[in-house]
C-alpha cells in the first residue's frame, strides 16, 4: 500500500470501528435494495457505465470493475471493509480525498449509507443484476399472514397481506358501497355512476353485485375512452404539429383506433406490435398500418430557415425516447450524447435502437405553404370512396390500353401522312419560347401598369416568340451575356427569371427545354422549377435541379415520400452550352419522365417512384429559372432559349428542339429512316385519332387525380425498400456522424431473436417475447398507477438504476407474469386489480398510518387521489345530463378554447359537451381548463402526470362557463325532481353531485346554504336572471329564476367540494 493510502486507511479505521458497533444488530444486506441505490446515486456519475466520462478508470457498476487490482490495491476487498479504499474515501475528512468530491456537489454519504456499504463489503461484496433487467418469475403466493381481518380475494391480496403482516399492519375494511362504486366507475370509465346505477347497486344485496358492476363497466364503450386518455399522454398525441408554427393536423383517426382497441380488448402484445410495426406485419391490414401513426406523433417543425436534417434526426430521437419510456421504462435519451451515466445503455445501444426508426421517407420539416400531410402517409377512404377510386383507376388502365391499341392501328395513316409531308410538319403544341433577345422595359402587350416594385427591381421583360400573351421577366441582377443564339442571361443565383405559364397538373403531359451552361459542378442548384419553395412547400410542383453535378427531374406532391424523380447517370457537361429537355407523359410514374441532353435521351436512374396526388397548389404557379425561395440558385449559370410544350416531346422531337432540322433529316433519311421514331412523332403531334384517345386518357387521369386529392391522409410508417445507414452521432449532433451501426437491441437485455427481421417488426417480437423483463412489468405498473394514483414502481417512466425500487416487487412480478400468461389481456388485469380487497379497501386510515405512509406505498389503504383533468370536466357534464356520449370523430372546441394561449373560437351544439378526450389539443396552447388540472402539453412522451392543488382550480370550477352551465342544468333537474318539496333539494343535490348522502352536519350546512341563496336571489332577482344566462343551453323558462339560481349556486358550490375532485 502506498504511504498516502496507508495514512488514509489509518485515519478512517477508527471511524469504521465506531460504525461497526452502531450497526451490529443490522439485518442482512441486500445489494439491490441497500447498496445499488447508494452507488448509483453517488458514484456512477463518474464511476459508472459511461466510459468516456469515467474518472480514474474506476468502474463501480460491475463487480469485476470494483474488484480490479489497481496499483497494488483494491477499491473493494470482499469480506474486508476496513481494507477497502472505497470506505476509506467516503469517510475521509479531507477535501482532496473524500468521495464523492465536494466539487461534485452531491453531498457526503450519511452514516447509514456508509454502514450499508461496510456491511455489504464485509459480507462479500456480492453484486446482483438490477432487478428490472431479470425476467419476472411468478412468486409463490404466501398463505394469509394476517391474524385477523379480511380474507384475501386473490393473489394481489395474498402478497399485500403477507407484506402487511410482516409489518404488523392490518388492511382497511372494504369501502362503503357508494364510495366503492364511484371509485371503480371513475377508474374504469372515467365517469361517475349514474343515479340509477348507484341506486341499483345500493339495492343489490347479492355477493357478486360488485363483480357484476365491474363487468358492466368493462363492457361499456366509455371504458375505451377512459383508457385511451392515458395512452395519449404516452403517445404524445395532439391535434397540432407543435414547435413554433404549430399548425393543426388531423391524426385523430389514430386516436379513435386506440379507443376501439381498448374496447375490444386487443391483447397488449398486439396493441404494441401494431403500433410499432403494423405496416410490416404479413398482409398488413389498413387498421394495422393506421396503428403505426403512433410513431409519427412526434412534434414537427416548419419554421422558415430550419435545418431539415437536424429536425429529421430530432424526430427519430423522439421516436426512440418514446419507445424507451413507453415500452421499456428506460430513459434512453441520456445516451444520445454519451453512454448513460447510470444504466448500462451505451451510446451505441442508443443508435442501434434509433436505426429501427429511421427507415421511412420523411422530411424534417413539414410544408408551410401547403396543407399537405407529411410523408409517408396512408389514405383513409370509406368503402364508397374506395370503390369510386378503384373504378377511376380501372378507367385509367382502360384508357391506357385503348391508347396503345390506337397507336398500333395507325401505320396506314402514318404512311399517308409521311407521303404528304416529305419535309415533316413542324412541332405543334409549343406554348411559349423565350429567346431573351429584346429586353423591354414593360411587359409586352400587357395592360397591367408597371409597379414601383417592378421599377425598383429594374425588371426587364421578354416576349414569347410563339404566343404573345406569355412573357418572361428578370431583375437587373441577371445580366445579358452572349447566348447560344444571340443573347442569353447570366444568373445571379439569388434572382429569378420568371415566366407567366407552367401550372401543369401531374396528368397533363408537358415538356420544358432550354439551353444552359453550368460554370461548375454543384452539390445542389435549382435550374428550372414550378413551385413556391423547397422545404417550405415540400417542393410541391416540378423541378429540374443539379444534384451532385447531375440533372434531377422531378414531379412532387410532397418531397420525398410522394414524388417521382429521375436523375441522369452522367454528370452535366460543364463550361459549354448544353441543350436540356425534360418531359412528363402524364402517367405519374418515374418511367414517364425523360431527360434529353443535347437532343439525346440521357440514361436515368429512378430516385423516387411514388406519386399519388397532384403537383399543383402552394403558389409559385409559373416556370422560374435559376432561383427558389430558401434554396440554392444557379449562381453564375447561363441560360438561353426557354421553350415550353403542352405535350411530352418524343425523342425525335427532343432532337429537333436541340438541333432544328433533325426532323426533316429523319424524314428524308434515304434508306435509313427510323420509322418507329417518326411514328411516335406522328402520333404525338399529328394523328387525330390518337389525340382523341390521348385526351380520353388525360380525362381519366384527371378524374383519378381529383379523387386522390379528396382522400383524407394520415401519417404512418412505411418502410423504405433499402434501410438507411445509421451512425453514432457524436455528442448527439445531427451532422457529427461517427461509426456506422445496424439496428439492434442492447446486449444486456434478451438477445434479438435470431430468426426475426432486423426491422420494427423484429423489434416488436423481441419486446413482446414472454420472458422480456420489462414490457409486462412496465405495463402492469402503469395500469396500477392509473387506478392507485401511484405505480408499484413510483417512477413509471424509469425502471432503470435511478428509478425507484418497487415496494412490493413480488406483487409487480406476479401481475406481470399473470398478464403474459393470460394472453396480455388488459381487461382481465384490471378485473383482477379492482376485484382485490386491496383495491376495495377504505381509503382512509388511522392518523398514525397516514402519517407513517402518506403515499400509501404499503397498500394498507385503498386508492385516493385527485381525479385527472378529463374526469373532472366529464363529471360535470355527466352529472348535468349535458354529456354527449358519442364515440370518436374530429376534435371539438369547448368553451375555454377562446381563453387558450392560442385562442380558437368555441364550438357550438354538441361540440361543447363531448368528453374531454375529444377536446382539441394544440401543443402550444392546450385547453386552459384541462391545463389548469395538469394535463401535459403532449410535447414528449409522459408516463406520469403531476397532480397539483392550486388556487387556480377554484376559478375554473367556480366561474368557468362549462361548470356554471352544468351546475344550472343539474339544478333544473333537481328542481323538477323536488317539485313541491324544496326542503329535499339540498340533500338530493349532495347525493347527485358527490355520490353519497350528507350526514346531519352536512345537511344542516346545505340547508343554510340553500336558504341563504334563496334569500339572496329573492332580493336580487336581476342577479338570478343573469346567472341563468351562462352557456349555450337556455335555462328552462318554466322554472322560477330565483329558485333555479339558488339551486344552481348550491350545485356549483358542491362542484367545488373535495369529493368532486378527489377520488376517495
Amino acid at each position: 500500500m502506498l504511504p498516502a493510502a496507508a495514512l488514509l486507511a489509518s485515519r478512517a479505521r477508527l471511524l469504521l470501528a465506531t460504525l461497526a458497533v452502531v450497526a451490529a444488530a443490522a439485518a442482512e444486506v441486500d445489494f439491490n435494495r441497500d447498496v445499488r441505490p447508494i452507488l448509483s446515486d453517488k458514484c456512477f456519475q463518474c464511476h459508472g457505465p459511461d466510459e468516456r466520462g469515467r474518472k480514474a478508470k474506476l468502474r463501480l457498476d460491475t463487480r469485476a470493475g470494483a474488484l480490479r487490482e489497481r496499483d497494488g490495491q483494491r477499491v473493494i476487498v470482499p469480506g474486508r471493509g476496513a481494507e477497502s479504499e472505497l470506505l476509506l474515501r467516503v469517510l475521509s475528512p479531507h477535501a482532496d480525498e473524500v468521495m464523492p468530491p465536494p466539487e461534485a456537489k452531491i453531498g457526503r454519504l450519511t452514516p447509514a449509507e456508509i454502514d450499508a456499504l461496510r456491511r455489504w463489503i464485509d459480507s462479500g461484496a456480492a453484486y446482483q443484476e438490477h432487478w428490472a433487467f431479470v425476467p419476472p418469475a411468478a412468486p409463490n403466493l404466501p398463505p394469509a399472514a394476517l391474524r385477523a381481518g379480511p380474507d384475501p380475494r386473490n393473489g394481489i391480496d395474498q402478497l399485500v397481506f403477507a407484506a402487511l403482516g410482516r409489518r404488523k399492519v392490518a388492511p382497511q375494511p372494504e369501502a362503503d358501497p357508494a364510495t366503492l362504486l364511484r371509485r371503480v366507475t371513475f377508474d374504469l370509465t372515467g365517469l361517475p355512476p349514474s343515479p340509477a346505477e348507484l341506486a341499483a347497486f345500493l339495492a343489490d344485496p347479492a355477493p357478486d353485485a360488485y363483480a357484476r358492476a365491474v363487468e358492466r363497466l368493462l363492457a361499456s364503450p366509455r371504458y375505451g375512452e377512459r383508457m385511451a386518455a392515458d395512452w395519449l399522454d404516452l403517445a404524445r398525441y395532439a391535434d397540432s404539429f407543435g414547435f413554433q408554427v404549430d399548425r393543426d393536423w388531423a391524426m385523430w383517426p389514430w386516436r379513435d383506433w386506440v379507443i376501439q382497441a381498448f374496447n375490444r380488448n386487443l391483447p397488449w402484445d398486439q396493441f404494441v406490435t401494431w403500433q410499432l410495426a403494423g405496416d410490416l406485419m404479413p398482409g398488413a391490414t389498413e387498421e394495422q398500418r393506421l396503428a403505426t401513426a403512433f410513431n409519427r406523433l412526434n412534434p414537427q417543425e416548419s419554421e422558415g430557415g430550419s435545418v431539415e436534417e437536424e429536425y429529421r434526426v430530432n424526430y427519430i430521437n423522439d421516436r426512440t425516447a418514446t419507445f424507451g419510456t413507453a415500452f421499456l421504462g428506460l430513459t434512453l435519451d441520456c445516451a444520445r450524447c454519451h453512454d448513460h451515466k447510470f444504466d448500462p445503455v451505451t451510446q451505441k445501444d442508443y443508435y442501434q435502437l434509433f436505426a429501427f426508426f429511421d427507415d421511412i421517407d420523411e422530411a424534417g420539416l413539414y410544408s408551410f405553404f401547403t396543407p399537405s400531410m407529411p410523408t409517408p402517409a396512408m389514405w383513409l377512404q370509406g368503402a364508397q370512396e374506395k370503390e369510386t377510386y378503384a373504378a377511376a383507376t380501372a378507367a385509367v388502365s382502360g384508357a391506357e390500353q385503348a391508347l396503345a391499341a390506337v397507336a398500333a392501328s395507325r401505320w396506314e395513316a402514318f404512311a399517308a401522312w409521311l407521303a404528304a409531308h416529305p419535309d415533316g410538319a413542324g412541332l405543334p403544341g409549343e406554348l411559349a419560347r423565350f429567346d431573351f433577345e429584346a429586353r423591354l422595359d414593360a411587359p409586352p402587350g400587357a395592360k397591367a401598369p408597371v409597379t414601383k416594385a417592378m421599377e425598383a427591381a429594374k425588371l426587364g421583360h421578354f416576349a414569347s416568340a410563339v404566343d404573345e400573351r406569355h412573357a418572361a421577366n428578370t431583375p437587373a441582377e441577371n445580366t445579358p451575356v452572349p447566348g447560344r443564339h444571340g443573347h442569353g442571361l447570366r444568373l445571379s443565383g439569388d434572382h429569378p427569371v420568371n415566366t407567366t405559364l407552367g401550372n401543369f397538373p401531374r396528368h397533363e403531359p408537358f415538356s420544358v427545354a432550354l439551353w444552359l451552361q453550368a460554370p461548375a459542378a454543384r452539390e445542389r442548384a435549382v435550374l428550372m422549377h414550378r413551385s413556391r419553395a423547397w422545404t417550405d412547400a415540400a417542393s410541391r410542383g416540378y423541378e429540374l435541379l443539379m444534384v451532385d453535378g447531375r440533372l434531377q427531374w422531378s414531379l412532387i406532391h410532397f418531397w420525398p415520400g410522394d414524388a417521382i424523380a429521375v436523375r441522369t447517370r452522367d454528370p452535366l457537361p460543364l463550361g459549354r452550352w448544353v441543350h436540356v429537355a425534360v418531359t412528363n407523359d402524364g402517367s405519374s410514374r418515374a418511367a414517364g419522365l425523360r431527360v434529353y441532353v443535347d437532343g439525346v435521351a440521357a440514361p436515368l436512374e429512378v430516385v423516387r417512384d411514388q406519386l399519388t396526388r397532384n403537383i399543383t397548389g402552394g403558389g409559385g404557379d409559373t416556370i422560374t429559372l435559376g432561383e427558389r425561395f430558401r434554396d440554392r440558385g444557379f449562381q453564375g449559370g447561363l441560360v438561353d432559349e426557354l421553350r415550353v410544350f403542352d405535350r411530352a416531346l418524343t425523342p425525335l422531337e427532343a432532337a429537333e428542339v436541340a438541333a432544328p432540322g433533325a426532323l426533316t433529316r429523319a424524314v428524308r433519311a434515304p434508306g435509313a429512316r427510323d420509322d418507329a421514331a417518326l411514328l411516335a412523332h406522328y402520333l404525338a403531334a399529328h394523328d387525330p385519332e390518337y389525340r382523341v384517345a390521348a385526351d380520353a386518357l388525360r380525362a381519366a387521369r384527371a378524374r383519378q387525380t381529383r379523387l386522390a386529392e379528396e382522400a383524407r391522409e394520415i401519417m404512418v410508417m412505411r418502410e423504405l425498400s433499402a434501410p438507411k445507414t445509421a451512425y453514432i452521432l457524436r455528442r448527439g449532433e445531427y451532422d457529427q456522424r461517427g461509426e456506422e451501426v445496424r439496428a439492434d437491441t442492447p446486449e444486456w437485455l434478451p438477445p434479438f431473436p435470431a430468426d426475426a427481421p432486423r426491422n420494427r417488426l423484429g423489434l416488436a417480437r423481441w419486446l413482446t417475447a414472454p420472458d422480456h423483463p420489462l414490457l409486462a412489468r412496465v405495463t402492469v405498473n402503469r395500469f396500477w398507477q392509473a387506478l392507485f394514483g401511484r405505480g408499484l414502481v413510483k417512477t413509471a417512466e424509469d425502471f432503470g438504476l435511478q428509478g425507484e425500487r418497487p415496494l412490493h416487487p413480488e406483487l409487480l412480478d406476479w401481475l406481470a407474469v399473470e398478464f403474459v400468461r393470460g394472453g396480455w389481456d388488459v381487461k382481465a388485469l384490471l378485473r383482477t386489480i379492482v376485484l382485490s380487497h386491496t383495491y376495495r379497501q377504505r381509503s382512509t386510515g388511522t392518523p398514525a398510518l397516514v402519517a407513517d405512509d402518506p403515499e400509501n406505498t404499503l397498500l394498507a389503504r385503498g386508492p385516493r387521489h385527485r381525479l385527472p383533468a378529463e374526469m373532472i370536466r366529464d363529471q360535470a357534464l355527466a352529472l348535468s345530463g349535458l354529456l354527449v356520449e358519442r364515440l370518436g370523430g374530429p376534435p371539438v372546441h369547448p368553451y375555454d378554447l377562446p381563453e387558450s394561449f392560442k385562442p380558437a373560437p368555441a364550438g357550438t351544439g354538441d361540440a361543447l359537451f363531448r368528453r374531454s378526450l375529444y377536446t382539441f389539443w394544440r401543443r402550444n396552447g392546450p385547453a386552459p381548463v384541462l391545463e389548469a388540472f395538469d394535463v401535459p402539453k403532449r410535447v414528449v412522451c409522459v408516463a406520469r402526470r403531476d397532480t397539483t392543488n392550486t388556487a387556480l382550480h377554484a376559478f375554473v370550477l367556480l366561474n368557468g362557463t362549462q361548470f356554471v352551465e352544468a351546475a344550472r342544468a343539474l339544478a333544473e333537474d333537481l328542481l323538477r325532481a323536488t317539485a313541491g318539496r324544496p326542503e329535499a333539494l339540498p340533500a338530493l343535490a349532495f347525493r347527485r353531485v358527490l355520490g353519497r348522502d350528507p350526514d346531519a352536519t352536512e345537511a344542516a350546512i346545505l340547508l343554510r346554504l340553500h336558504r341563504e341563496q334563496l334569500d339572496h336571489y329573492a332580493r336580487e332577482p336581476g342577479d338570478a336572471d343573469c346567472y341563468l344566462t351562462h352557456g349555450s343551453r337556455p335555462a328552462d323558462p318554466a322554472l322560477p329564476p330565483v329558485a333555479l339560481a339558488a339551486a344552481a349556486t348550491l350545485v356549483n358550490t358542491l362542484m367545488n367540494h373535495d369529493l368532486f375532485v378527489q377520488k376517495r
Binding site: S306, D343, G925, N949, A951, I1005, Q1013
Partner: protein, 488 residues
C-alpha cells in the same frame, strides 16, 4: 417510520392546517432528493414570504436580487444597430463578407443559400453617453439617458439559429421544448414570495406580429405545474376565470364560500387529509386574488407624472409601456419573476423601418422602468434584463438598397443589457471583432448568463437540481460559469 412535528403548510395558511413535512414536500414534488429541501425545512413557521434559508436571503447564499424583471425582445434585435457599433461595417458597406470572418459558421436555411452576402453598415449614428461612456445608437435616446445604470453585455452567444429553438434556449436552457423555464426554476428553488399573487407572472405586448411565442417558454417542464408562469392577459380577466360570472356578487360568492368552507372543515374532521386542508387554503387564496389581481393590474391610480414617464403608450393596456408599469407594480407586491415579451424584432427585410418602430415602443418604457425602480429604492434588489434570443448578421439578407436592407439571424454574438440587482452599473462587458461577427473577449454563453442570474438571486446553479427520468437536471445542464466581471 416516525415523523418530526408537523410543519406549517407551505403556502402559508391557518395554523390548524397541518401537513407533515414529508407530505408537504411530496406535494411540491420535491421528494427527498430535491436540494431545495434544505431551505424548506429551514423555513420559519408562518413565514410565507420569507425568502431563502441562507443568511441574507437566497437559497445557497445571500442574494443581491430579490426579483427579476425580464424584458424579452423576441425575434432577435440587431445588436449592430442598437448596442454594438462597428464603424468598419460602414466603411466596407456593400463589399462581400470575407470567408475568413465567417469561419465555417453554419447559416440558416434563409440566407445560407444566398449567392452573395454583402456587408451592411448601420444607418444609425452611435454616441457614447454618461460617465460610463456606454455607447447607444440614436434609436435608443431614452436608454442612453440611463447609460450609467446599465451593464451592456456585447459578447453573449448561443447555438440556436432559429427562433423556436433560440427563444426556448434563452428561456429554458435547452433548444428543444420540454425543460422548465428560468422563472419556474426560480420559483421551485426559492418558493413563493407573497400571499396574494403568483410568484411568476408573464406579460405579453398585445397585438404584436412577428415570430409566435409558445407557452412552454414559461412552462414548468418536468417541474410540478405549480411553478409555471401565470400569464396575465391584457383584456378581460388577467387570470383564467378570475372574475365572478354575471349574476354572482362578491358578497354572495363570499357567502357560498363560507358554507363550502364549513363543508370542507367537516370533511376534514372525518377524513384528516392534507389535501382537504390545502383546498381550504386555496379557496381563501383564490378569494383574495379576486381583489389583489385586479388591484395590481389597474393602473388608474398611478400618478400622471409616472405614467407620462413611460411614454405615450403607457395609458393603453397591453402595450409594452403599460406592461412595464405593471411589472413595477408586481415587483412592489413581491412577485419574484416578471417576464415581459415584446415581439417583432425579426428584421430579415425592411430593417430600418422595423427596428425604428420597435424602438419607439420599447426604448422609453424600458428606461423609465429603470428610473422608476431607482427612484423607489428598488433597483438595488431588482434585476432588469433587456434583450432577445440571438443577434443579427453583419451582412445583408435579401436585396440591399440605399435605404433598405435586412439582416439574418446571428448566434455568434449579440448584446443585452442588465440593470440593478447586484450587477455593475455603467459598464460594457465583452467585445466582438471589428466586423461584429465573432466574440473576441469575455464571451458569455447563455448558460453562463443563466448561472449568473441565479447567482444574483442567491442560487448556486449547480446545486439547484431536480431529478427527472433518472437524472438530476439543472437549468444550466452540465455547463455554465459565473460571469464574475459583471458582479457589483
Amino acid at each position: 417510520m416516525s415523523l418530526p412535528d408537523p410543519a406549517p403548510l407551505c403556502t402559508g395558511a391557518e395554523p390548524w392546517l397541518r401537513l407533515s413535512r414529508r407530505e408537504c414536500l411530496n406535494r411540491l414534488g420535491l421528494g427527498l432528493g430535491g436540494l431545495a429541501l434544505a431551505r424548506l425545512l429551514a423555513r420559519p413557521a408562518h413565514a410565507a414570504s420569507a425568502v431563502g434559508a441562507a443568511p441574507g436571503g437566497g437559497l445557497h447564499f445571500a442574494h443581491k436580487a430579490k426579483r427579476i424583471i425580464y424584458l424579452f425582445q423576441s425575434g432577435g434585435p440587431s445588436q449592430l444597430d442598437l448596442l454594438d457599433p462597428k464603424p468598419l461595417l460602414n466603411q466596407r458597406h456593400g463589399e462581400q463578407l470575407p470567408d475568413s470572418v465567417r469561419g465555417g459558421q453554419r447559416l440558416t436555411g434563409m440566407s445560407g443559400n444566398q449567392s452573395s452576402i454583402p456587408i451592411a453598415g448601420s444607418p444609425f449614428a452611435f454616441q457614447r453617453h454618461g460617465r460610463s461612456g456606454n455607447a447607444f445608437s440614436e434609436l435608443l435616446p431614452y436608454t442612453a439617458k440611463v447609460a450609467d445604470e446599465l451593464c451592456v453585455i456585447r459578447s453573449l452567444h448561443t447555438e440556436a439559429i432559429n427562433h423556436g429553438p433560440g427563444v426556448t434556449f434563452m428561456q429554458t436552457g435547452a433548444q428543444i421544448p420540454g425543460r422548465p423555464s428560468f422563472g419556474a426554476w426560480l420559483d421551485y428553488g426559492l418558493g413563493s414570495s407573497n400571499d396574494n399573487l403568483p410568484s411568476f407572472v408573464v406579460l405579453l405586448t398585445k397585438d404584436k406580429k412577428g415570430q409566435p411565442l409558445m407557452s412552454h417558454l414559461w412552462g414548468s417542464g418536468f417541474l410540478p405545474a405549480k411553478h409555471q408562469g401565470v400569464r396575465f392577459r391584457s383584456g378581460g380577466d388577467p387570470v383564467l376565470y378570475l372574475g365572478n360570472p354575471a349574476g354572482v356578487s362578491p358578497a354572495n360568492r363570499r357567502l357560498a364560500l363560507d358554507r363550502l368552507r364549513e363543508l370542507h372543515e367537516h370533511q376534514f374532521a372525518g377524513t384528516p387529509d392534507a389535501e382537504i386542508g390545502a383546498r381550504i387554503a386555496n379557496y381563501e387564496l383564490a378569494f383574495r386574488m379576486q381583489s389583489s389581481v385586479p388591484e395590481v393590474t389597474d393602473l388608474r391610480g398611478e400618478p400622471d407624472a409616472v405614467v407620462d414617464a413611460y411614454g405615450p403608450d403607457a395609458r393603453t393596456p397591453g402595450t409594452f409601456a403599460a406592461n412595464c408599469i405593471l411589472a413595477r407594480r408586481l415587483a412592489e407586491r413581491g412577485v419574484r419573476f416578471i417576464q415581459l415579451y415584446h415581439q417583432d424584432w425579426d428584421h430579415h427585410a425592411g430593417l430600418p423601418g422595423g427596428i425604428r418602430r420597435e424602438c419607439l415602443q420599447t426604448d422609453q418604457p424600458s428606461a423609465a422602468l429603470v428610473t422608476d425602480l431607482k427612484q423607489r429604492g428598488m433597483l438595488d434588489d431588482t434585476l432588469v434584463i433587456w434583450g432577445g434570443e440571438f443577434g443579427r448578421t453583419n451582412y445583408c439578407q435579401g436585396p440591399m438598397t440605399a435605404t433598405n436592407f435586412g439582416r439574418d439571424h446571428h448566434p455568434r454574438c449579440f448584446s443585452v443589457w442588465l440593470a440593478g440587482g447586484g450587477v455593475k452599473a455603467g459598464i460594457t462587458h465583452g467585445e466582438t471583432d471589428e466586423y461584429g461577427y465573432n466574440v473576441v473577449r469575455d464571451g458569455v454563453h447563455i448558460h453562463d448568463l443563466h448561472a449568473t442570474l441565479l447567482h444574483l438571486c442567491g442560487v448556486d446553479h449547480e446545486q439547484l437540481t431536480y431529478k427527472f427520468q433518472g437524472r438530476r437536471y439543472r437549468l444550466t445542464d452540465v455547463h455554465g460559469h459565473l460571469v464574475k466581471g459583471i458582479l457589483a
